[in-house]
Amino acid sequence: MHRYSAAALLRHGINRHTTWPRAWRCPPLRDSYDVIIVGAGGHGLSTAYHLAKDHGITNVAVLERGWLGGGNIARNTVTIRSNYMRDASIPFYVKSVALYEGLTKALNFNMMHSKRTMVDVVQTYPKMRELRRRQLTMDIYGSTYEQISERELRRRIPALTGGGPDARLPITGGMVHTDAGVNRHDAVAWGYARAIDAMGIEIHQQTAVESLVRGADGRIAGVQTKRGLVRAPKVAVAVSGHTTTLTETVGLKLPLRTMNLTAFVSEPVKPLVDVIVNCPDAGFYFSQSDKGEMVVGGAPDMGQSFRRDIKQHVFEDTVTAMLSLFPSFKKLKLLRQWGGHLDIAHDASPIMDQTDVPGLFITAGWWGGYKAIPAGGLTLAHLVATGKSHDLMSKFTLKRFRHLDYVMETGTTTAR
């Protein structure tokens, strides 16, 4: 791999930047591999990275329907945090946050990681009680959560001028999660892609997988793509919202629903808010990007959805909620909106497991899966390579639904 460094920048600068090598290859598609990963999103790329790095498995193809960095890895709000509720979830996300913090060095690619803290603006007592309860569990696993007063909240976020004593929901206090941060989503996709390419793994863009293919013995045999049949004894599906669409091609039903979660950004303005602001009672959250844009997310569309755009009333509800707490944002012009479809499991926790079809693995049910990319890849690669669950993901199985042994994170996401 061509290392990126100050010296390389200087060397290529002298040549007017015409000598930079390609960051990854576009090799011809072969007809068989040891492992096929469907989806070159964050989880697919990270799984490929850990297959090669931790387990030495490099005869791998990552198949992508669109282009690299064009799926949900480009359709999120880059929020990295570990404030969850359940004993199974918190250590997993703590690990993921730690891996993200070391990713720039590990991949030799600047992730522009900015550990800037998340602050929850709480406006009801039930929400405050729930977050205090989360704090006690998070304390056990080394994640940080701390209660602050309304006065301290307003000191930390000067733009927060709404939610006073006369508001419909006056602010009751706040919670501070210092582990939270943001980074650059394109860098995550490109950094992983460059690293796995250097280790010999192939990325095939514009290679939509149309169906999964089972052999006569019932095991997975490969995938049917629009460029032909590709064989592999192990297939890992990391396609976010389309998981059930693919698994139903081999008759597999899963406890997943596909939803559309939307976000939008404002025009860039001078630095105004230096933390990630989450307002669970009002129903929105935002952070200011390094470019100065306010990146705002709200609630999902009602009902299942495979659309990728925002609905006018969802957008209006989110803006109304935001203006109730940040009235000065009224002057902001909004630039772009987008949506991404993701699937949510019955208990709102992820599923990383081998399915009833031997050799077929899924990673699905990611609601806010961006923060889980490093640990998701680490643990899924362990499962694919060794056939055994990694300790961090041993609860996120498909079997838990069979035994009704849920990892109940319902309510800790923005899912309605």
């Binding site: 059930t244 039903k253 899963l254 406890p255 009602m302 659309r307 009333h313 019955h346 639904f401």
Partner: protein
Amino acid sequence: MMNIPCPFCGPRNEAEFAFGGPVKPDRPDPNMVSEEEWAAYLTQVPNPLGPVQERWWHVKGCGTWLTIWRDTRTHDIVVRPADAS
């Protein structure tokens, strides 16, 4: 934006409605079905790339519950597909 046909109020803006979830099969007697069937009933819902049958509540209107078929790709309200069970 969907215009959901309410049987009493006519087509109304979806902002007046609350979502009631996809229509599930009748609740089986847990003692009469296998454990797999019972778990499947509790945890699995139809997740089609296309028409899905679902319940909506006209909560900011007349308060009635209604059932529609909606295409998950476009959010168009569609007629019941011919092959629907």
